[in-house]
Chain length 168, copies 4
């Protein structure tokens, strides 16, 4: 009955065009799997792109907002959870996700990947950035997967969910 939730994290205003396109495609693929998409919910960057992708494929989207109120929410979020907790909500993003995909990198995204490691979640990095890949693999070899494409990211998560007994 409980739905599988996949968290997609990544830069807001600092997202590159590649990050944006990858996030859109990942949103689409998550919806096609029948999974729920979870993001930070704002109307910028990777969050917005992933929500738009999921919406285009008739997926269900949850946004965990840093603010208390209605402004700045992605139009493609169905269920908006307002935390009024700023970056402390990053831990909720991670704990509520059965798996996490980091699409691009930035300070906020780095905190989410680190918290996901601490929470023992399956994590996929979809970034060409070598320092990020090295750093997080160095922190933990077990739960990090370096993906080369959105499809690759989804395939890894499917395996990880199966290993953990969650029928994807």
């Amino acid at each position: 009955m409980r739905k599988i939730i996949i968290g997609v994290m990544g830069p807001g205003t600092g997202a590159s065009e590649t990050d944006w396109e990858n996030a859109y495609t990942i949103g689409t693929l998550i919806a096609q799997e029948g999974w729920v998409l979870l993001t930070g919910g704002r109307n910028v960057g990777v969050m917005d792109a992933a929500n738009r992708g999921a919406k285009s494929a008739n997926g269900l989207t949850v946004g965990i907002l840093p603010d208390a109120g209605d402004s700045g929410v992605s139009d493609a979020v169905h269920i908006a959870i307002f935390t009024d907790m700023g970056s402390a909500r990053n831990n909720i993003n991670v704990l509520s996700s059965d798996g996490v995909i980091a699409c691009g990198m930035g300070a906020g995204t780095a905190s989410e990947v680190a918290l996901a490691l601490k929470a023992n979640k399956p994590i996929v990095l979809l970034t060409q950035d070598r320092e990020s890949q090295r750093f997080f693999q160095h922190l933990s070899h077990h739960h990090i997967w370096i993906a080369t494409s959105p499809k690759d990211a989804i395939a890894f998560l499917k395996q990880a969910l199966t290993r953990r007994g969650k029928t994807p």
Copy 2:
């Protein structure tokens, strides 16, 4: 596109039989309106009853859990948000709801009604408890409605949402 979310708050293990039945009916009615049900997500008392009611009417249910992990979640929750924040998550329950129904009363529920007042949300009290009615009406006449039945509670919220420009 964003869905209307109604929060149903109330005692867990301390819920009376009347609280349980009211919560179940309220969950059903919320689902029939096409609204999303939001609760504290645990598998006891008012939270569990409201989720079961909404599920029986094919509604969508969101649970905002106080814990980090999978145990203790109502079977009738579709989307589980894990906060690991204990009672501090009560503020998230309230901020994320377009309207709040308190079904019964207890210390946790009282904190949620008080936080909902502070957040300027439409609130319905569905309880026969006179001290609760007097205290919260005394705190604020504007946003509190004393309901005599689940139907009455839903009717009030419909009006309140309309007044705020949210087409219910």
Copy 3:
């Protein structure tokens, strides 16, 4: 080695003159006991008055702020803890206090008294408001004390701390 911490809660801008005077006196008395004063830290109402009282008696003061940044902090706060969590920080106020005094009443204060009940903390209400007295005593007879003066409030807390094995 750990210091005894007493939380003083009450209205901000809505505080009455009596609330302000009571809070100032309570701050003074807490400092004279060698306890640390904890408040919501803002530069208004009961929070500000209690901090000024404690400072006047050379006490140590901790403010748990709802915001992320430096503005709006009481000048009489020594240690400012910035939560950026809005009203969710009310639960931290309560959990970090060995005992809680509510000086006056409002929506935020009501949430703190309710959360203190849930956390099983000794609580003193210093308010003439009958609805508040009745409601919270109705919620729990065990942990609530209705005080008639700041001295009375401190005397009750001393007894409660002793009963719990915390040498005040």
Copy 4:
């Protein structure tokens, strides 16, 4: 009147002997500057060592605990703030610190350094770990300083505080 607060972050059970010794020395130096030490407050690793160091030099120590209750707190913490928020409290650690020293590295520490970058705080890394140094300098050149010793870390923070108009 407000005290300068320096946060010292680092591994708990995973701390190396060098991390422990560095943290103890840093705690001592912070106390000697008249600054308040802030840590995650637990009785293990870098948190415990820094608190013991500060205590040995008659400093004042604040612990921001992840739990709700009394167990697991470092004996050398004067003021214990109980958040019951798990790793979400990492953001409070960072926001409440005028400067942050990371002593060693781990998933929790990485999240704190990333959140400190996002909050625009002066940060010192005291670790020999090259991947950490490269990754965080890559994320932001502006606010990160790589220290080679506890004394070096304190000297950098003094300059950073002065630049920001906080008389250290």
